[in-house]
């Protein structure tokens, strides 16, 4: 196990830190990953590499973290998002984009020559998301798109989960576009 700690900690930390806002939380999750690996070492059959196994444990830890964060966020915000949530302010009452919220750059899929600038914008905007929305969106990538499992883990309905993802994506998109335009 000592060899694994030396070989894989840096990569696990790198992965975890890109997925949670607080670096200390990321480091704790990596530490917990090794504790779990140590406790369940007998289950490690060797049919995957130690690295793959450790990353699978870390993803579970991240999902646990976001489940907690999500539930705390829900308590703070008080209730689930209603169907006609005014917070989805990107759209006018007729359901179409408003003149100020519509995507500005029609040819751009955020494929920039300057990848670093896009990377910075994305990280910044992701960290600005409200905690429950960040939880919803991170789950999508951790659970490899198993949406039923995500809904069960978060304890929300399918409809509510789509709305959360939709809201998160709208906020991300608009934040990134704003940042790229301002810094152009």
């Amino acid at each position: 196990m000592a060899g694994w700690v030396k070989s894989h900690t840096a990569d696990l930390v790198r992965y975890a830190r890109s997925r949670v806002k607080d670096p200390d939380v990321a480091d704790d999750l990596v530490q917990l990953t090794f504790v779990s690996a140590w406790q369940t070492l007998k289950k490690f059959a060797g049919d995957s590499s130690p690295r793959t196994w450790l990353f699978a444990i870390l993803k579970h830890k991240l999902a646990d973290h976001y489940r907690k964060v999500y539930r705390e966020g829900q308590q703070v915000s008080g209730m689930e998002i209603a169907d006609d949530d005014p917070a989805i302010s990107e759209f006018a009452t007729n359901g179409h984009w408003t003149s100020t919220t519509k995507p500005a750059d029609l040819s751009s899929a955020f494929e920039l020559d300057e990848k670093e600038r896009l990377d910075r914008a994305l990280r910044h905007c992701l960290d600005l998301l409200p905690t429950n929305l960040r939880g919803a969106v991170e789950m999508k990538y951790l659970k490899e798109k198993d949406s039923e499992e995500i809904q069960q883990t978060l304890g929300i309905s399918a409809t509510n989960y789509w709305q959360q993802l939709h809201r998160a994506k709208l906020k991300l998109r608009s934040c990134i576009e704003g940042r790229l335009t301002r810094n152009a």
Binding site: V13, G95, P103, S107, S108, A109, L122, K140, H166
Partner: protein
Amino acid sequence: MALTDTLMIHCRKATELVERRDLQPLSMGERAGLWFHMRICKYCQAYSMQSEAIDLWMEERVGTRVDTVALEDRILTRLKG
């Protein structure tokens, strides 16, 4: 429901379907509505492209490399304890 009701979805619905199709198969009506909407709305086309770019980045992102020697020592101490 009339055919026009199925086909004439608004941008809010179209962008929601863009997010949903990735995780759950859409119904025939939803697919038709989205297909039609995407042909007439350049803003939702842009949204769809941007959304895909965000997805790709979210899946592939890795943080910057940091010095983890102190953390490695903490982990080893904890495993021994």
